[in-house]
Amino acid sequence: MSYDAILKEYPLPPSVKQEIKEELERLKPKKNVAKKIVDLCYQAYLSNLIEPGEAVGIVAAQSIGEPGTQMTMRTFHYAGVAELNVTLGLPRLIEILDVRKNPSTPMMTIRLLPEYAKDRDKAREVANRIEATHLKDVAEIEVDLREMSITIKPDREAMNKKDLTIDELREKIEKSIKKGAELIEEKGIFVVKVKKDSYKVLMDTFEELKELVVMGIKEIKRVIIRKEGEEYVLYTEGSSMKKVMKVKGVDFTRTITNDIYEIYEVLGIEAARTAIINEAISTLEEQGLEVDVRHIMLVADVMTADGELRQIGRHGVAGEKQSILARAAFEMTVNNLLDAAVRGEVDYLKGITENIIIGQPIKLGTGDVELIARLGVRR
C-alpha cells in the first residue's frame, strides 16, 4: 500500500513528507490511521510556522552573533586533515561574512572520476598534475657569476616521481626566459646565458627560474591524498577552482573550494549561496555551537539576493541600505550625509534605524499592525 496518495493532499515541505513516509512504511498503519497521522503532522506543521511580522533578520543576526563570543580565535592544525592548517572559529566566520577575496587558508577538496578514485597511483598521477612543482624541486640551480650564466641540473629521480620529461622541462624554461637570455643544453644540463651584461638581470632571472612552475597549478601549494571510504580524495593547500576543474581525472561535479568568492565567479550565485551556508555551518559546528540552518540561510540569501555576492558590512548589505539615516548611523556618518545632500536623496523612513532616530514606532512585529481601536466609543 502506498501512502503517497494521502501525503499528496497536504502541502508539507518535502523533507517532512519524506520522514512521514519512512515512518509510515516502517509501521504500516491502516489507511485511516495513516490519514490521521498525516493530518496531525499537518496541524503541527501549521502551528510551527513563523508568524507574520516576525523580525527574522534580527533574530538571525543575534543567533549567529551571540555565540561569537564563545568561539576561539586560533588557527588549528586540523579539520579532518591533520596535515593542513585551516582557519577556524571567529576569524573564519568573519572571513565568510566579509566575502574576503583571498581567504587566509584557501583549501580545496577534490574528488576524482571513478577510474582514478580507486587506485592510489592513479590518484597520485592527478595530484602531480595539480600540485605546483617549481623548478627548484626538480633541479639544482646555480649561478655562475664569472660566466654570467645559470646552470640547471635536472634531478632525474625527482622528475620521474613527478612524471616530468626533459622535453617538457626544456619547453617550460624556454618559455620563461623569452628574449632576455638563451638556453644551451650540454649533457643533460641546461645553461641559461643572460644576454645583457648586468648582474641585476642575472639575479632576477635566477630568482624567476627558481620559482618557475614547471608542472601543476601555480596556486596549489600542496596536495594531500587521503582515502575516504572506497575512494581516494585530494585535499589541497591553495585554491584555483577554474584550473583544477579542467585537470584530467578530476570529477568537477564533486570538487569544492572553501574560497566563496571563487565559487561565485566560477559556479555562480546559487552555488555561492550554498557555499556560504555550508562553510558557516561547518565553522559553527566545529566549535560545537548549535545554530539553526534557517538563520544561516537567511544571511546567505541576503548576501546573494540581488544576484551579486555582497558582504555583510560597509561595502555590502549594510552600506547599500536605501535609508540615509540608517547608513549614517552605521558607519561613515558625515560622508553619508554629505553625499545624500549632493544626490538629493530622499529617506522614506521605512526601515528600523530611521524610525528609531526620528522617534516613530517601527514597522516590525506589533508595530506593523495597522488595526486601531477607536477609544471613547462604548456600547
Binding site: 533578520g57 533574530v59 594531500i224 545554530v291 539553526d292
Partner: protein, 873 residues
C-alpha cells in the same frame, strides 16, 4: 488617535539665499558678552538666536529658556571659502568640465548614455559609484573640450582644500586656483551636465560647494556652561565661530584699507582653515584646532561621528526614565518569571494608572494610602503634574475623576523589563513580575542566569517599567520569561537547571535511593502539590515524578559513558532515562534532562504543555533540587583531590615514560632518523609527535586519577552530571596539568640567541620540561619554571578573550545593521522593508519558526506517530 507619521526626509545642499532666508540675524561681532554679562548684539550669543539664560527672552519668538527652540543666524563671508566635505566633488567637477565653457568634457550623446545608466541603477536601488568613476576617468583624460574646443589643463587637488592648475605640462608649473576662481568655474557648469557627476540639479548647484555665507547654529545647540568658579565656558562651536568672525572682520578691514595682497591672501587662508576645522576638526593634512588647554576642539563632524556621536549615541540609543540599576543576587525561592526589587527602588519607580469610571476607586485607594505602594504624582487632563504629599492626599483623592493619571509606586505583580548587557540576543531583555523585597539588590532565580549570561560576582542589571497599557500587555504576552524557555537559535531550552540544581537531582534520582516519609515531605515542602500517595518510604525517582507533568520520553543521560551497545533500561550505570506518563522509571536526572541548553525533559514539557506548565516545572524542579542538596549536604574541599600513593606512583611513571619517549624522538631527530609525516617538515613532525605523546600521557594520568577518585567524589559527581567542571579540570587538579601552549605550539620564545625558553636550560633544548610541559598538578603545586610557563599559556587566553569580544561585537553590529529590516510578510515571504526586495519566498525554505521547530526539524513526526499508534519503540 491615529499616530502621525513623517512620510519622508529629503536631503539637499543649502544655497546662500536659503541660508540668508532662514537666518534671523547677520553676525559680525567677535565679542559674545558685554562687560555686564549680557549678550552682545550681532555677536554669537545674540538673543535673536535664542536664549540660554533663564532670565532672558528670545528677541525672535519671545520664548524663554526652554520654550524657544533657537533660531539660525548667518555670517557673510568676506571671501568665498571651500567646503571641506565637498572638496573631493569639486575636484571631480573641475577636472571633468571645460575651463572655458563649463561643459562636461564629453559629447552629449555619450553623456546621456551614462546618465541613463545611472538612472537605471538608481531605480534598481543599486550603487552607481562605478559609473561615476568611469565618467571621471574619461573626462579627466580629455585634452580638448568637445563643445568649444578649448585646451584643457590638468587640475591638481591637494588635500584638504587646495586646487592647482598645471599651466605648463612640460615644466609642471602650477598655478593656484583661489576659491573665487573655483566658484566662477563651477557657476558655468550647466544643470544638464550635473547628473553625470552624481549631482541632482534640483537639489544642488555646484557653486554652493564654495561658501559665501556661513549659517550660524542657534545658541541652544551650543550652550555655554558656568564653571564652579563662576566663569563662563563657551562651547567648542562658539569658540570656532568666534575665530571665523574675527578673521572675517579683519579681512574686511584690511581690504577696505587697501592692505597688500600678501596679507589678504594669508587672511584668506586663515579663514579657510577656521571654516574647515569648524566643519571637521579631524581633516588630514592640517593640524586640528585646539582649545587653550591643548585638547582638540569637538566641531560639527565630531559631534555626529562615532559611538558617542549624535547618531549612535543620542538618536539610535537614548537615555530613559523609569529605569533602575543595581547589583544582582540569587534567590531560589522566587519564580523564574519574577524579579526581586528592593523597596527603595520600588518607591522611586512609578506606574501610571489611567483613571476611568471603572478604576476610579482603585486609583483613589493609592492616593489615600500612606505607606507603599502609594501614589506619588497625579497628572491632570491639562497636563499639570502634582506631587502627592501627605498634606494634599485627601484633597486630590476627592478631586480625582476619569481622565486623570495617577502615578503609583511599583508593587508586587507589576510587569517590568529586566536586562543585562551586553544584550546579545532577545533573551537579554525579558519581562518579569515584580516582588518587592528588602535589601538593596535585584534578586533573580538562578535558572534564568543562562539567557542573561549572568553570574553573581558583582554583575549589575537594569530594570525598566513599561508606562503604557500596550507596552505592559506586550511585555506580558511576548516578553515573559516563560515565553523564552526555548531559544530561537537552536530550538532547544535555554532556561533550565544549573550547578546545584543538577547535582541535587542527580543525588536524588540516581539509583534506587530510599527516603523516609519525613525526608520526602521536607524535600517537597516548597513545591505546591495537592496530593501525594501515602507511603512510609519513597524512592528518589518517585519524589522527582511528583513534580513531573505527564510526559513520556526515553533518552541517554549525560552520565552515559557511551557503551558500544547501549543496554537501555538495563544500563548498570543508571544512565538511560525512561519516563512514562510522568513517572521516572529508570535513569538519572542530570544536565541532559533538566540543564539549560540540553534539557530534554524541559523541551518535551514545553512542546506538550506550553509555557505556563514549563514555568511551574522549572520552579518546582529548582526548588526541589535545592532542598535535596541542602538536606543531603554536598561539599568539595582540597582533600577531594587526594589520590593514594600508588596512584601518584603510576602517574609519575606514565609521565616519565612519556618524557623518555619525547627524548627518544628528539634523539632520532638529531641523528636524522626521524621520518617526516607526509607534507610536513622534520621539525614540524617532531613537534607534533612530542605534543601527541605528552597529550596522551596527561590523558592516561587523568584516567588513573579518575579511577582512584571514584563516583562518590563530589568533584567527580559535578563533572559527570554536567553540573560544573569537567574531567579535564579534575585531571589537572589531581594528576597533571599538561603541556602549555602559545598559538597552538609548545612554548618556544625566550632567549632567541641561544634558542631556549629560559636560562635554566641548555641551548637548543627540545625536551618536554624545557618547552612548557607542566608535570605537576594544581594540588601538588607548580615549580617556579612550570609556573612561568603556565602564566605564558594563561596570558594567551586572556589576550584571546579580549580580542574576541571586540571582534565578535563588531560582527554582531554589522549583521544587525545588514539584517534588521527583514520581516516576514503575511504571504510568508521575507522582504527587505526599505527596498521591498524579496529575500526568501518562504522563510527558511519551510516557513518554520526555529524556536518552535524540533531542534531544527520542522516538526516531531515520530512523536505524533507514537501518540497516534500508541507503540513503544
Amino acid at each position: 488617535m491615529y499616530p502621525k507619521r513623517i512620510s519622508a526626509i529629503k536631503f539637499e545642499v543649502l544655497s546662500p539665499q536659503e541660508m540668508r532666508r532662514m537666518s534671523v540675524a547677520k553676525l559680525n561681532n567677535p565679542e559674545t558678552y558685554d562687560d555686564d554679562g549680557f549678550p552682545v548684539e550681532g555677536g554669537l550669543m545674540d538673543t535673536r538666536l535664542g536664549v540660554i539664560d533663564p532670565g532672558l527672552k528670545c528677541k525672535t519668538c519671545g520664548g524663554k529658556y526652554g520654550e524657544c527652540p533657537g533660531h539660525f543666524g548667518h555670517i557673510e563671508l568676506a571671501a568665498p571659502v571651500i567646503h571641506v566635505g565637498y572638496a573631493k566633488i569639486i575636484a571631480r567637477l573641475l577636472s571633468g568640465t571645460c575651463r572655458e565653457c563649463g561643459r562636461i568634457l564629453m559629447k552629449d550623446d555619450r553623456r546621456d548614455k551614462f546618465i541613463r545608466e545611472i538612472e537605471r541603477l538608481k531605480a534598481l536601488g543599486q550603487s552607481y559609484e562605478d559609473v561615476l568613476k568611469e565618467i571621471f576617468r574619461i573626462t579627466k583624460a580629455a585634452k580638448k573640450c568637445p563643445h568649444c574646443g578649448a585646451e584643457q589643463l590638468e587640475i591638481k587637488f591637494e588635500k584638504p582644500t587646495s586646487f592647482y592648475e598645471v599651466i605648463d605640462p612640460e615644466t609642471k608649473e602650477e598655478q593656484k586656483l583661489t576659491p573665487k576662481d573655483v566658484r566662477e568655474r563651477l557657476e558655468k557648469i550647466p544643470n544638464d551636465d550635473l547628473p553625470a557627476f552624481g549631482l541632482d540639479p534640483k537639489s544642488v548647484r555646484p557653486e554652493w560647494f564654495v561658501l559665501t555665507v556661513l549659517p550660524v547654529p542657534p545658541v541652544t545647540v551650543r550652550p555655554s556652561i558656568i564653571l564652579e568658579t563662576g566663569q563662563r565656558s563657551e562651547d567648542d562651536l562658539t569658540h570656532k565661530l568666534v575665530d571665523i568672525i574675527r578673521i572675517n572682520q579683519r579681512f574686511l578691514e584690511n581690504r577696505d584699507t587697501g592692505a597688500p595682497q600678501q596679507i589678504l591672501e594669508d587672511l584668506w587662508e586663515l579663514l579657510q582653515y577656521h571654516i574647515t576645522t569648524y566643519f571637521d576638526n579631524e581633516v588630514s593634512g592640517i593640524p586640528p584646532a585646539r582649545h587653550r588647554s591643548g585638547r582638540p576642539l569637538k566641531t560639527l563632524a565630531q559631534r555626529l561621528k562615532g559611538k558617542d556621536g549624535r547618531f549612535r549615541g543620542s538618536l539610535s540609543g537614548k537615555r530613559v526614565n523609569f529605569s533602575a540599576r543595581t547589583v544582582i543576587s540569587p534567590d531560589p525561592c522566587i519564580s523564574i518569571c519574577e524579579v526581586g526589587v528592593p523597596e527603595e527602588v520600588a518607591k522611586e519607580l512609578s506606574v501610571p494608572i489611567f483613571v476611568t469610571p471603572n478604576n476610579l476607586d482603585f486609583a483613589r485607594e493609592f492616593l489615600r494610602r500612606r505607606e507603599s505602594p502609594k501614589a506619588s504624582y497625579v497628572i491632570r487632563p491639562d497636563g499639570k503634574r502634582i506631587r502627592v504629599i501627605d498634606s494634599n492626599r485627601e484633597e486630590i483623592a476627592e478631586k480625582l475623576e476619569p481622565g486623570w493619571v495617577v502615578e503609583r509606586e511599583l508593587m508586587d505583580g507589576d510587569v517590568v523589563l529586566f536586562n543585562r548587557q551586553p544584550s546579545l540576543h532577545r533573551m537579554s531583555i525579558m519581562a518579569h513580575y515584580v516582588r518587592v523585597l528588602p535589601y538593596k539588590t535585584f534578586r533573580l532565580n538562578p535558572a534564568v542566569c543562562p539567557p542573561y549570561n549572568a553570574d553573581f560576582d558583582g554583575d549589575e542589571m537594569n530594570l525598566h517599567v513599561p508606562q503604557s497599557l500596550e507596552a505592559q500587555a506586550e511585555a506580558k504576552i511576548l516578553m515573559a520569561v516563560q515565553e523564552h524557555v526555548l531559544s530561537p537559535r537552536f530550538g532547544g531550552p535555554i532556561i533550565g537547571g544549573i550547578h546545584d540544581h543538577i547535582t541535587g537531582l542527580y543525588l536524588l534520582t540516581r539509583g534506587e535511593k530510599k527516603f523516609s516519609k519525613e525526608e520526602a515531605m521536607d524535600f517537597l515542602r516548597a513545591v505546591d502539590l495537592s496530593e501525594i500517595p501515602a507511603k512510609e518510604e519513597y524512592t528518589g525517582k518517585e519524589i522527582f515524578s511528583f513534580i513531573l507533568p505527564k510526559i513520556s520520553i526515553r533518552f541517554k543521560a549525560e552520565i552515559c559513558q557511551g557503551c558500544a551497545v547501549c543496554k537501555e533500561e538495563k544500563c548498570e550505570n543508571d544512565a538511560f532515562v525512561v519516563i512514562e506518563d510522568g513517572k521516572l522509571l529508570k535513569g538519572t536526572i542530570d544536565e541532559k534532562a533538566v540543564g539549560a541548553f540540553k534539557g530534554i525533559v524541559i523541551d518535551e514539557i514545553m512542546r506538550k504543555f506550553g509555557a505556563a506548565v514549563t514555568r511551574k516545572f522549572i520552579d518546582d524542579m529548582t526548588k526541589l533540587a535545592i532542598r535535596v542538596i541542602t538536606r543531603l549536604g554536598f561539599t568539595i574541599g582540597i582533600d577531594d583531590e587526594d589520590i593514594p600513593k600508588e596512584a601518584v606512583q603510576q602517574i609519575e611513571e606514565t609521565i616519565s615514560e612519556a618524557e623518555k619517549r619525547a627524548e627518544e624522538l628528539i634523539k632520532a631527530y638529531r641523528e636524522g632518523n626521524l621520518e617526516p609525516m607526509p607534507g610536513r617538515s622534520v621539525e614540524e613532525t617532531l613537534e607534533m609527535r612530542i605534543m601527541q605523546e605528552l597529550g596522551k600521557a596527561r590523558d592516561r594520568a587523568g584516567k588513573i586519577a579518575g579511577r582512584y577518585l571514584g563516583m562518590d567524589n563530589s568533584a567527580v559527581i559535578m563533572a559527570v552530571s554536567g553540573a560544573r567542571g569537567s574531567m579535564l579540570n579534575l585531571t589537572q587538579m589531581a594528576a597533571c596539568i599538561g603541556q602549555q601552549s602559545v598559538r597552538g605550539e609548545r612554548l618556544t620564545r625566550g632567549y632567541a640567541y641561544t634558542h631556549r625558553t629560559t636560562s635554566h636550560f641548555k641551548p637548543m633544548d627540545l625536551g618536554a620540561k624545557a618547552k612548557g610541559f607542566v608535570r605537576s598538578s594544581y594540588k601538588s603545586g607548580l615549580s617556579p619554571i612550570e609556573f612561568f610557563f603556565h602564566a605564558a599559556g594563561g596570558r594567551e587566553g586572556l589576550v584571546d578573550t579580549a580580542v574576541r569580544t571586540s571582534q565578535s561585537g563588531y560582527l554582531q553590529r554589522r549583521m544587525i545593521n545588514a539584517l534588521q529590516d527583514l520581516k516576514v510578510e503575511y504571504d510568508g515571504t521575507v522582504r527587505e522593508q526599505t527596498s521591498g526586495v524579496i529575500v526568501q519566498f518562504k522563510y527558511g525554505e519551510d516557513g518554520v519558526d526555529p524556536m518552535k521547530s524540533f531542534r531544527g526539524k520542522a516538526l516531531d513526526v515520530k512523536r505524533i506517530v507514537k501518540e497516534v499508534m500508541g507503540v513503544k519503540e
